[in-house]
């Protein structure tokens, strides 16, 4: 026998590291086959169903509401109006008062006297079946006295505009300012502009988007004595529990919230929904289990929307391309009410407009504006896609103004690798990265030189199909967040995360996380981390989440925080487990704890290989507890709460090559390459998946999706026939790559990847489209780049205008009055 085959030394080889392996996700089989509990699968004895009558008018007073006929319908148990619930419904919470004088008119779960957007709840029917509840809605009689409808932000902020809420003095909820000069993180912005050789100003429109998660929202509430269990398709069971307790007065310890498997959220389920509160109130009244599941139409019309900003952005620079100052003014559409973090979304973006560039001066202002539309709130990227779009678009505009290569202007101004950690003009400390390296790698992936040559050929031959190349060299802040920073921004919660590890007698491991997955793959990634930390097999780890009775403390999943904050809490808990086990192992090995080393799941005395005890054996020993050192508790379970000291800052270079058919305006992505730096990669397969999904959504904003209201405030894109979510067949192949610069704010070195693709891609696509047709006189095209808009921009000038039928003033998101289409008409 050779030494290599000696079984003793083979056993001593530590298992291969799990972190870094492209493990297939252990949760996927049940998620994909549906062999799991989605909230709408829940069936409870005696369960009743709730259906909601929704306002067909955007703004009006309820002058007559008669539910008596509905009460007589078969299988109807009860019918309630806002008046019935007015005393107990309170207001849905807004956890982010971004300024001390922010105006929050309050947000009833069901309208009492006035409706402020189409789709607002007006009455609810509780019946023995879902269909009976839906049928009875038709028997409810309501009259509305119409009020003037406020839709256009730029008109809404004018003196004399009709008001969304007559209790307020204007439609402006708040005015938020960040001024680097005043904050001491930069110089005076006005001076910078006064001194600059060149200034470029643009107005960009971030259209309104709909998160469009796959699983519709659903909630079930089961009362049991004075206790309540709520199942909800939510991203935030922990936050929901706190908020629902505060809104309804049900004591927090009497309320358990469970998010079972949840089919996507993208921020759209980072919410305390009216229907969650209504189900609780009705379950309390009737003492029966209540279920509500939305239809897709309800989802598109009433679940919160995203984006919807008008951005005015000015950049100051010298002729050689060195940037001198940045000024941003936003109008951000709140919709009719402030939901959980509605006002905070644009504020989250406030610190990211400077992007990766060394601006010496920066000023940001934002008005939150009420309109008669469904509220906006978090949507994948929340604030950062808006900021990234504006800065990456204006850097191209600056390059055009200066006659420089767009990449050259970026190179001249970006933070160099040796300058990290770098404190930006917005006061953020960027942790690590190398923008040059990512860019070089992305250029190579794309085959840049060949495509530039082809572009030239197409231009010269006047080809009807023109080619363009667009860049986005982005960074973002994620890993929400240091609690102190959140506190300084008046956010209503901290940013820590919790984890605990339970060592079972058979050596199996239960990991409880406060981070709540809804499709991201936490169970796999957490298992990989724990397998490495404890030296146990990947298969021996089970990850528990989403039930406040199991995972008592947590702040859930959003803002690319799960791995960075929640994963780190798991690491910290595992370290504690090892330290507790070390004491017991030392006792069992009759050695000094300080002499033990721990590798591959095994404690052994340093310098004495062979002899040792595995951590899984320690788990059994301490379960029996027949023999353990005095003065310690017989347990090696541990928990940890991690509060990061800084955000992490993923970055990357995304390059899009776009073909534009100048005859029809049809835009088609020819090639897409991106290199992302998301720090240390725990699972490359999951990272790739997150990048792909993010790209799909970011490209969708650039090219396909837009929530459009008509002049009366009806959502005209109320089904997937009109709200165009692209399918795989509409998207190109993605060439992806990575550079790795570890985050410095967490021991994993991970930076978060959930939003990166979505944040980065949108401006790359629009820049590419413009690059294809700029030589034909086009200077801007409004998103999404519908063929008609591109065609109008090409043949009529302007930005292609609104996606609206002539003669109506339907519009997407922000506003119509300056539309390119109207210009084109003249």
């Amino acid at each position: 026998m050779t030494a290599v085959e000696d079984p003793a030394s083979a056993v001593d080889l530590p298992p291969a590291k799990e972190v870094g392996q492209a493990r297939r996700r252990k949760e996927d089989a049940r998620l994909i086959t549906g062999k799991t509990t989605w909230t709408d699968n829940m069936v409870l004895p005696g369960m009743l169903h709730l259906a909601v009558l929704r306002s067909p008018v955007a703004h009006g007073r309820i002058t007559h509401l008669d539910v008596s006929a509905a009460k007589e319908r078969p299988n109807v148990v009860a019918v309630y109006t806002g008046a019935d619930l007015a005393e107990e419904q309170g207001s849905l919470p807004c956890a982010w008062p971004v300024t001390p004088d922010m105006v929050n008119p309050g947000h009833p779960s069901i309208a009492v006297e006035q409706v402020n957007h189409v789709g607002e709840a007006v009455a609810i029917v509780v019946a023995r079946s879902r269909t009976a509840a839906a049928d009875a809605l038709e028997a409810i009689d309501v009259d509305y006295e119409p009020l003037p409808v406020v839709l256009d932000m730029e008109q809404a902020v004018q003196e004399g505009s009709p008001l969304v809420h007559d209790s307020t003095s204007s439609n402006t909820s708040y005015h938020f300012v960040f001024d680097a000069g005043e904050a001491g993180t930069g110089s005076d912005t006005d001076q910078a502009f006064a001194d600059a050789e060149v200034t470029v100003s643009r107005r960009f429109v971030q259209q309104r988007l709909i998160p469009a998660f796959m699983e519709p929202r659903s909630v079930v509430v089961q009362p049991s004595g004075d206790n309540y269990t709520m199942w909800s398709a939510t991203q935030i069971p922990h936050i929901l529990r706190v908020m629902a307790a505060m809104v309804t007065g049900i004591p927090e310890h009497k309320l358990r919230v469970i998010a079972p498997d949840v089919g996507g959220g993208f921020g759209g389920k980072l919410q305390v929904n009216p229907e969650e509160i209504l189900c609780l109130l009705i379950a309390r009244r009737l003492g029966k289990p209540i279920k509500w599941t939305e239809t897709r139409g309800e989802s598109l019309m009433t679940a919160h929307h995203g984006r919807d900003q008008v951005q005015f952005i000015d950049v100051a620079a010298d002729r050689d391309g060195t940037v001198k100052g940045l000024r941003v003014r936003l109008l951000a559409d709140m919709g009719a009410y402030l939901r959980l973090i509605t006002p905070g979304v644009p504020a989250l973006g406030a610190f990211m407009f400077p992007g990766i560039y060394k601006f010496p001066a920066y000023r940001f202002e934002c008005d939150g504006v009420f309109t008669n539309k469904v509220p906006t709130d978090a949507y994948r990227g929340a604030g950062r896609p808006e900021a990234t779009f504006a800065i990456e678009r204006i850097m191209d505009e600056l390059a055009v103004e200066l006659g420089m290569d767009p990449l050259e202007v970026r190179r001249k101004n970006w933070i160099n690798a040796e300058e990290f950690p770098f404190t930006t003009v917005a006061g953020l400390e960027y942790d690590s990265g190398d923008y040059h390296q990512a860019t070089e790698q992305a250029l190579e992936l794309l085959g840049y030189d060949e495509l530039r040559a082809e572009q030239q050929r197409r231009r010269e031959s006047n080809d009807p199909v023109q080619l363009g190349i667009g860049f986005s060299t982005f960074t973002e802040m994620c890993g929400l967040a240091p609690s102190r920073v959140l506190g300084s921004l008046a956010f209503g919660a901290g940013g820590w995360e919790q984890a605990s590890i339970r060592m079972l007698p058979t050596g199996k491991v239960e990991v409880v996380t406060g981070s709540t997955p809804h499709g991201q793959g936490h169970e796999t990634a957490w298992s990989q981390i724990v397998a490495d930390q404890l030296g146990v097999p990947f298969e021996d780890v089970e990850v528990l989440h989403g039930d406040t009775a199991i995972s008592s403390r947590g702040l859930d999943t959003y803002g690319s925080r799960s791995l960075v904050v929640g994963g780190t809490a798991v690491v910290k808990a595992a370290e504690k487990v090892v330290e507790k086990a070390r004491v017991i192992a030392a006792h069992l090995l009759e050695a000094n704890a300080d002499d033990l080393e721990f590798t591959g799941g095994k404690f052994s005395v340093r310098g004495t290989p062979g002899a040792g005890v595995g951590i899984q054996e320690v788990a059994l020993a301490i379960f029996a507890a027949h023999d353990y050192p005095e003065g310690i508790e017989p347990s090696i379970d541990a928990e940890a709460t991690f509060d990061p000291e800084n955000f992490s800052f993923p970055h990357g270079t995304h390059i899009c090559a776009m073909e534009i058919d100048t005859e029809t305006g049809f835009a088609k992505i020819r090639k897409y390459a991106c290199v992302d730096d998301v720090g240390t990669i725990v699972n490359p397969l999951i990272v790739e998946g997150q990048v792909h999904g993010g790209l799909a959504q970011g490209i969708a904003q650039a090219m396909y999706e837009e929530a459009i209201y008509d002049a009366e405030g009806n959502l005209t894109t109320g089904s997937f026939v009109d709200y165009l979510v692209p399918a795989a067949s509409d998207l190109p192949h993605f060439d992806t790559g990575n550079t790795v610069h570890a985050a410095t704010s967490n021991p994993l070195g991970a930076k978060g990847v959930g939003e990166a693709g979505c944040i980065a891609s949108t401006p790359a696509v629009v820049n590419a489209a413009l690059d294809a047709v700029r030589h034909l006189g086009v200077t801007d095209i409004r998103m999404p780049l519908t063929p008609e808009r591109v065609w109008r921009a090409l043949h009529g000038g302007g930005d292609g205008g609104d996606r609206a039928a002539q003669g109506s003033n339907a519009y997407g998101g922000a506003r119509t009055t300056e539309s390119g289409y109207q210009e084109a008409e003249q």
Partner: protein, 285 residues
């Protein structure tokens, strides 16, 4: 998204179906693949009292030859159309258009007859039927009659079908030797309806165009023929110049709608571009 209550009948023959419809009273709807009808019922825009489901009426399903004519049963699904050997040989224009309809799931249920009876101007098959001068065979309490495609499409979502009448089959000429076809569809994402589409069939004789048939999708409340273009092509040389010149007349006499997908002037522009492209492909240019 939950339809109002309705009664349901599932006959197995045309005769039983007609009887069920006759006895059903005022508010009867025929259910074919349900891909257009069920969505409007779920939105409660339609609330029939009785649905007569034709999916078990075997005699309405399938494709057969009758001399120079292909006879397509109304209940032949889009998926059947794509798999049918006769259509593969003589009905490529129908096949090409059907390939662009929605997605696999919808094509498995949706039917040729249902798509025509629904008469949505954005639907892909009406313009094809019109371009082919299809004949529609209708059966009702008053017996059997045949109407031409030009007569069948009356207005937006309105056909020549009388109350109580069923569309049973559609007769189209075989396009054999000498014919080239192309369905040119313009939409934003793969599974979406046409913003505009053009169905073109061109018969070449030597270096000349002997005959051209052009149907326009979504250029008015009903499918339309691009008659001026068709006329301009007869007898001309097959060349990009002649095709381009003729295609420039494709929007003549059209009255497309303004909607979220496109305004009328843009649709008219598209009709010209797409007609040129469809003709070029059909003529083998």
């Amino acid at each position: 998204m939950i339809p109002a209550p309705f009664a349901y009948a599932r006959p197995t023959t045309v005769e039983e179906a007609l009887q069920a419809i006759a006895e059903g009273g005022e508010d009867v709807k025929v259910l074919a693949g349900g891909q257009s009808l069920i969505p409007v019922m779920r939105l409660r825009l339609a609330a029939p009292e009785l649905l007569v489901d034709l999916t078990r009426v075997e005699e309405l399903r399938g494709v057969r030859e009758d001399g120079d004519t292909l006879v397509i049963g109304a209940m032949t699904t889009h998926a059947d159309v794509l798999a049918d050997p006769l259509l593969a040989q003589y009905g490529q224009l129908i096949v090409q258009a059907t390939e662009t309809v929605a997605d696999r799931q919808v094509r498995r249920r949706g039917t040729f007859g249902g798509a025509l009876a629904h008469a949505d101007p954005a639907g892909d098959l009406p313009a094809v039927a019109l371009a082919l001068d299809a004949e529609f065979v209708l059966v009702g309490p008053g017996g059997r009659r045949t109407v031409s495609a030009a007569e069948f499409f009356v207005d937006y979502l309105t056909t020549a079908l009388e109350e109580g009448e069923l569309l049973v089959e559609i007769r189209v000429p075989k396009l054999g030797e000498g014919w080239g076809v192309r369905y040119e569809k313009f939409n934003r994402v793969a599974q979406a309806w046409s913003i505009v589409a053009v169905a073109a069939a061109v018969r070449r004789q030597g270096g000349r165009i002997a005959e051209a048939r052009i149907g326009l999708t979504n250029m008015g409340p009903t499918p339309l023929r691009a008659s001026a273009t068709e006329a301009a092509l007869v007898g001309v040389d097959v060349s990009m110049e002649t095709v381009t010149a003729a295609a420039a007349q494709a929007a003549e006499g059209t009255s497309p709608s303004n909607d979220l997908n496109a305004q009328a002037d843009y649709r008219q522009h598209l009709a010209q571009v797409l007609t040129r492209r469809a003709l070029a492909a059909a003529a083998g240019l």
